[in-house]
Structure formats: structure tokens, C-alpha cells
């Protein structure tokens, strides 16, 4: 692990455990999640609904709804500093400035009774300071808000309008403008395009890519869409039942798929070159997070499940410095060879 020390990490999550404790029982949202993003790079966090993707994003901002959510264990380091050690006041300085988050549904993410420019200016007014170190004047914040609108492709004079006067794609642009208004070091994008039409999706994605490159922002792209990952990410973490089960560079994951679940995700996509092939969806549903299997969480849905999978948690096996997988199918020797065993 000595290599890790050398890497310049913007985000470093280790063994994060988050539980939601309600009367109905304890939901284990995250079970020892590890995540690393290098400065300026984009990591794709890929998984099904309910795998703990959004919880991961909210944990970084310390915005897990509490109650019922509790961070039980682990550490979250932003540029080397543990956010878990920070006070609420310190976190407020980090949110929106050092780390921003774009939420999934632009329709509900904006305050319906505030003008769009006020919502952008708010984040500017909180964080930005003038030359003397004093908070900037609100009129300057509004000016910056209009600039941000132009930047995301909305005429600045529409800033005085309210969210209901905007289309879904435009709302998401506004949300992105809010997120980028203070040039954050890290941008968490939680399925930013899921709620949008396909054509708008491409536009928004392209715009985000451009802005990321322009400002050198690190990004955590939370998605279930492998197409988006291929488009925008440098590295990929596959999350299942609150744990990263395979992680590697884009090439590692796309060309040297190892975990049966990752394999299943790819097989669920239609392949235009081989249209005669039938889709092979992953059977069944995510395990109930209040009652996870004792062994490998994917075991009940896995075509290659063995006896050991039912009783023990699989260890982590590395294929190279970065690419690892958590599956009993592999050991130090066979992981370097071909694809998924049995393929």
C-alpha cells in the first residue's frame, strides 16, 4: 500500500460503514466502502439503485440524515483532512466551496420560491471573499451568478426567473452552476442525467466534461450507466450492497472485467455489433439491506457461486497496482490470466 501514499488524493475513503437505524430494523447502507480519487481525475461509482451510491456522496458532505443515519466506522479524507473530525461550522465552509454535490432530480433540487440567480448567488455569498478577506457584496454575488448561468448555457438575464419557468435540462444546468460557482476541488455528481431526456443528457454531460477540464475539478460520478462512465471517467469503482467489489482504471474494468457482477452489468447492455445476442440480465434483486447474506453479498444472484461464497466474505485480490476484485473465483495467480472464469 506504500504506493497510495505517493498518490495525490483529493478524496480518500477507508472502510466506511453507514447504518440507518429505524424501528423496523438496521439498514446497512455502506459496509466497509473504500474509495480513492486522485486530484483532477474522475471516478465512476457504478451500481444499482439502493447499492449505497447516494449515501456515499452524502457521507462525504456529512449530510446523512441523522436520525436515522449513523456513520459507524471508517474515515473520509478530503485532501488529507478527515471530515469526520470537523465541526459543523467547519463542514459548512467545506460544503459548496471545497466539495459540491449535484443531485439526481433537478425537478425537486431547486427551491421553488427563490429566483434562480438568488440560489446561485447564495453559495457565492457564503464562501467567496473579496480582496480584504471580507464576504463579497451581494450585488457581486448576483453578478457572478449571472456569469455562471452564461457558463452553463443559460442567458444571464433569465436569472430573475423561478425554477418552474425552466425545463428539466435547464434546471439541471442551474444545479450544476450552483455546484461549480465556487470552483470546488471535488464535484460529486449523483446521477446528474438520469432524470433528463436522452438528447439533453448528452448536452449536459458534454458541458460537465468541458467545465471539469477547464477548472481541473476532481469528480465523483455516481451512475448506473456504463455509457456515461466510458465517456467521462478515468477510474471506476463497482459498488454492490454498500461495498466496492471491483475497482480499476477504465481499461481495467472495461477490457479486463473480473467480477461476475461487473460482467453482469455489461451483459445487461445491448451490444449493437452483435444484435443477434440475447441480453443476459442479472437475475433477481439486490439483497435486503436490513438482512444481508452472511458471505458474499452477490452470492444469491451469482452464476458462479460456490459453497464458500455463502459463508465467508471474499478477500480482495489485486490484478495490478490499481485493479482489484473481491471474489473467491480469483487468487494471485489466475487473476492475471483471462476474463471471468467460465466465460
Amino acid at each position: 500500500m506504500s504506493e497510495n501514499m505517493k498518490k495525490d488524493l483529493e478524496l480518500d475513503i477507508k472502510n466506511l460503514v453507514v447504518e440507518f437505524r429505524t424501528d423496523a430494523g438496521v439498514t446497512q447502507a455502506l459496509n466497509g466502502l473504500d474509495l480513492e480519487i486522485e486530484k483532477g481525475k474522475t471516478l465512476g461509482l457504478v451500481g444499482e439503485t439502493g447499492a449505497g451510491k447516494t449515501t456515499t456522496g452524502l457521507s462525504i458532505l456529512q449530510l446523512i440524515p441523522d436520525p436515522p443515519g449513523i456513520i459507524v466506522d471508517g474515515s473520509i479524507k478530503l485532501a488529507g483532512e478527515d471530515v469526520m473530525m470537523k465541526s459543523e461550522k467547519e463542514m459548512e465552509k467545506i460544503r459548496g466551496q471545497q466539495v459540491s454535490m449535484i443531485f439526481q432530480d433537478p425537478m425537486t433540487s431547486l427551491n421553488p420560491v427563490m429566483t434562480v440567480e438568488d440560489q446561485i448567488a447564495e453559495v457565492v455569498a457564503i464562501h467567496e471573499v473579496d480582496a480584504n478577506g471580507k464576504p463579497i457584496a451581494y450585488s457581486d454575488a448576483i453578478k457572478r451568478a449571472k456569469e455562471m448561468l452564461e457558463l452553463v448555457g443559460i442567458p444571464g438575464d433569465r436569472g430573475t426567473e423561478y425554477p418552474h419557468q425552466f425545463s428539466g435540462g435547464m434546471k439541471q444546468r442551474v444545479v450544476i452552476a450552483i455546484a461549480l460557482a465556487c470552483n470546488p476541488k471535488l464535484l460529486i455528481a449523483d446521477e446528474p442525467t438520469t432524470a433528463l431526456d436522452v438528447t439533453i443528457q448528452a448536452q449536459v454531460l458534454e458541458m460537465m466534461k468541458g467545465l471539469r477540464d477547464k477548472y481541473g475539478t476532481s469528480m465523483l460520478m455516481i451512475t448506473h450507466d456504463l455509457g456515461i462512465v466510458a465517456e467521462i471517467c478515468d477510474a471506476v469503482s463497482i459498488i454492490y450492497a454498500g461495498r466496492v467489489i471491483e475497482h480499476g482504471s477504465l481499461e481495467d474494468i472495461f477490457d479486463n472485467t473480473r467480477h461476475p457482477y461487473t460482467e453482469g452489468l455489461f451483459n445487461s447492455l445491448p451490444d449493437l455489433d452483435h444484435r443477434e445476442q440475447r441480453l443476459k440480465p442479472i437475475k433477481g434483486l439486490m439483497p435486503d439491506p436490513t438482512n444481508l447474506p452472511k458471505g458474499c453479498a452477490f452470492c444469491p444472484r451469482c452464476d458462479y457461486a460456490m459453497e464458500i461464497c455463502q459463508t465467508q466474505k471474499p478477500p480482495r485480490v489485486y490484478r495490478n497496482d490499481e485493479h482489484y476484485v473481491e471474489c473467491f473465483l480469483y487468487n494471485e495467480q489466475n487473476i492475471k490470466e483471462g476474463g471471468v472464469i467460465g466465460r
Binding site: E92, R95, G96, T108, S109, V113, V123, Y162, H164, V175
Partner: protein
């Protein structure tokens, strides 16, 4: 904006016609001959018949109604059977007292209720939340008149702090307004709480938090205005029950208002006075509801955009 207001006022006209028609028709069901009421039992049949003809009582009810409405538009509500004075004079001499009582009660209850509901929502499941919601539940379960009697018993008879009846001092209004407003405090606090609870779970609150806005500011700046939208609806409905409730409060505290006059007129079979009171109350209610509808626009831009 003005066009919208005008449109709403125009839309109010058929409602007012309908309301007056219903009230007029119901009151016409009252037994007994108004001419007999005025002239007394000893009057001759000829005299009664003559008066009936003069008053237009022999015309069909719909003609009587149209005539009444025509006079109403000129501010003429007929003549009281009892005092022989114009009903409009009788009513408008008492209207300010009732208006004062209702307005003080509305303001008092709103100022109390909204912060109470907000704090209860923010501190959901705390002792304060539980305690204030139990008090609110008691408040909506307690009849206005009984609460009024209890206030009288404690603050006037036992402690002697406040006058138990009348409107002789500026502080005379404290007890009747409290009795009238308490019911409102309870229901407005309850709706504020539940509305606030719904709003603070919304995505845009999370967005605001993710921007680095402190929790207190999020509540004040983002949650409150959204949470108030359903509260305003309830306030509009509450005004209706408040107007009717003022009758009870006025009766308990002998407050010299329209409600008490109406009750006295009912027992005196003074139909024009009763009719006038009920119609004026209803008109007030309609106007208040219109005001509440227009108030939406100031809070909710989604409704404001419909003004155009």
C-alpha cells in the same frame, strides 16, 4: 396583477349571488307572518293584509329576493322589525367591534401558532414537540364558549385582573380575543408543524445544505416560505370558523358586536336584522378568502405567474 385581481372579484359575484339566494331562501322558511310580528296580535286582518302588500310579501319569493338584492346594492338592508331603525345602521354600528375582535384574534393566533409549529417541527419528537402538540390538541377540542367561561372564571372572578364583560377599556379585548383565537392557534400550529416536516425532507433543502448554508439559515430562508403555503390555505378556512366563533365569544363576554346582535335578533324574530348579519358575515368571509388567495401570489411564484 390588477387584471387578475379584477378577474377574481368578478368571479366572486356569482358566488355572492348564490350565497345570498341560499340565505334568503332559508330565512324565508321562518314561520310566522312578518306583518303580524310588526303590528302585533291585535291587528285587524285588513291592516295586516295592507302591510303585507306594502312590504311586497305577497310577491313570489324570487321577486322579493331581487328587490332585496337591489336595495342591498344601495346599502339598504331593510328596517328592523324591533327597533324600527334601518338594519344597515344597526349592523354597522356594531360591525367595528366584531371586526376588531376578529382581527386581534387572527393576529394573536397567527403570531403564536406559526413559531410554535416551526419549533415543534424542527425539534420533532422532543419534549417541546410533544407538549405543544398535546396543548394544540386540547385547543382544538375545547369549545370556544367553554374556554371563554374558564378564562372569565380565572382572570376576572378569581384573580380580578381583567373585566369579564363589555368593551369599556382597551384591555377588555384580551379575554374575548384569547378565547376566540386559541382554537386557531391550535389548528394553525398543527398544520404549520406538519407542513414544515414535509418541507424539510425536500430535495431543495438538501441542496441548500450542500451549498454550505447553515441549518438555521436553511430553515429561515428556504423552508419557512415553502412551509407557509399550506398554512395560508388553512388560515383562509379558519377565518370562516372565526367569524362564526365570534358570535360565541361575543355572547360569553357580552361584547357589543354583530354576533350578539344577530343572536338577539334571532330570538326576537327580527328577520331583516338576522338576514343582514348573516349576509354581511358571509361577504366578509368571501372577501377574506379572496385576500388569502391573492396572498398566495406573494409567497408562491408558481401561482403568481398565473396572474398574467
Amino acid at each position: 396583477m390588477w387584471k387578475y385581481i379584477l378577474k377574481r372579484i368578478v368571479a366572486l359575484i356569482p358566488v355572492i349571488i348564490g350565497v345570498t339566494l341560499i340565505v334568503y331562501f332559508i330565512m324565508s322558511l321562518a314561520p310566522g307572518d312578518p306583518a303580524v310580528t310588526i303590528l302585533g296580535d291585535q291587528a285587524t286582518p285588513e291592516a295586516i293584509e295592507q302591510l303585507r302588500e306594502e312590504m311586497g310579501l305577497n310577491d313570489p319569493i324570487i321577486v322579493q329576493y331581487v328587490r332585496y338584492m337591489f336595495n342591498l346594492c344601495r346599502g339598504d338592508m331593510g328596517t328592523s322589525y324591533k327597533t324600527k331603525k334601518a338594519v344597515s345602521v344597526e349592523i354597522f354600528s356594531r360591525f367595528p367591534a366584531t371586526a376588531k375582535l376578529s382581527i386581534v384574534a387572527v393576529i394573536f393566533s397567527t403570531i403564536m401558532a406559526i413559531p410554535l409549529g416551526i419549533v415543534a417541527a424542527i425539534k420533532q419528537n422532543s419534549f417541546f414537540d410533544g407538549f405543544s402538540m398535546i396543548v394544540a390538541l386540547l385547543g382544538i377540542s375545547m369549545p370556544i364558549f367553554w374556554f371563554g367561561v374558564l378564562l372569565q372564571l380565572l382572570f376576572s372572578l378569581k384573580l380580578g385582573w381583567l373585566p369579564s364583560t363589555g368593551n369599556d377599556y382597551w384591555y377588555s379585548i384580551v379575554l374575548p380575543a384569547t378565547a376566540l383565537g386559541f382554537h386557531n392557534v391550535a389548528s394553525v400550529a398543527r398544520i404549520t408543524r406538519s407542513s414544515m416536516l414535509e418541507v424539510i425532507r425536500q430535495d431543495y433543502i438538501r441542496t441548500a445544505r450542500a451549498k454550505g448554508v447553515s441549518y438555521g439559515t436553511v430553515i429561515k430562508k428556504h423552508a419557512l416560505r415553502n412551509a407557509l403555503i399550506p398554512v395560508i390555505t388553512v388560515l383562509g378556512i379558519q377565518i370562516g370558523s372565526l367569524l362564526a366563533g365570534s358570535t360565541l365569544s361575543e355572547t360569553v363576554f357580552a361584547w357589543p358586536g354583530m354576533g350578539r346582535f344577530m343572536i338577539a335578533s334571532i330570538s326576537g324574530r327580527d328577520i331583516p336584522s338576522v338576514l343582514g348579519c348573516i349576509i354581511l358575515f358571509t361577504l366578509c368571509f368571501s372577501v377574506c378568502n379572496l385576500a388569502v388567495d391573492l396572498a398566495y401570489g406573494f409567497i408562491d411564484p408558481r401561482i403568481k405567474s398565473q396572474y398574467k
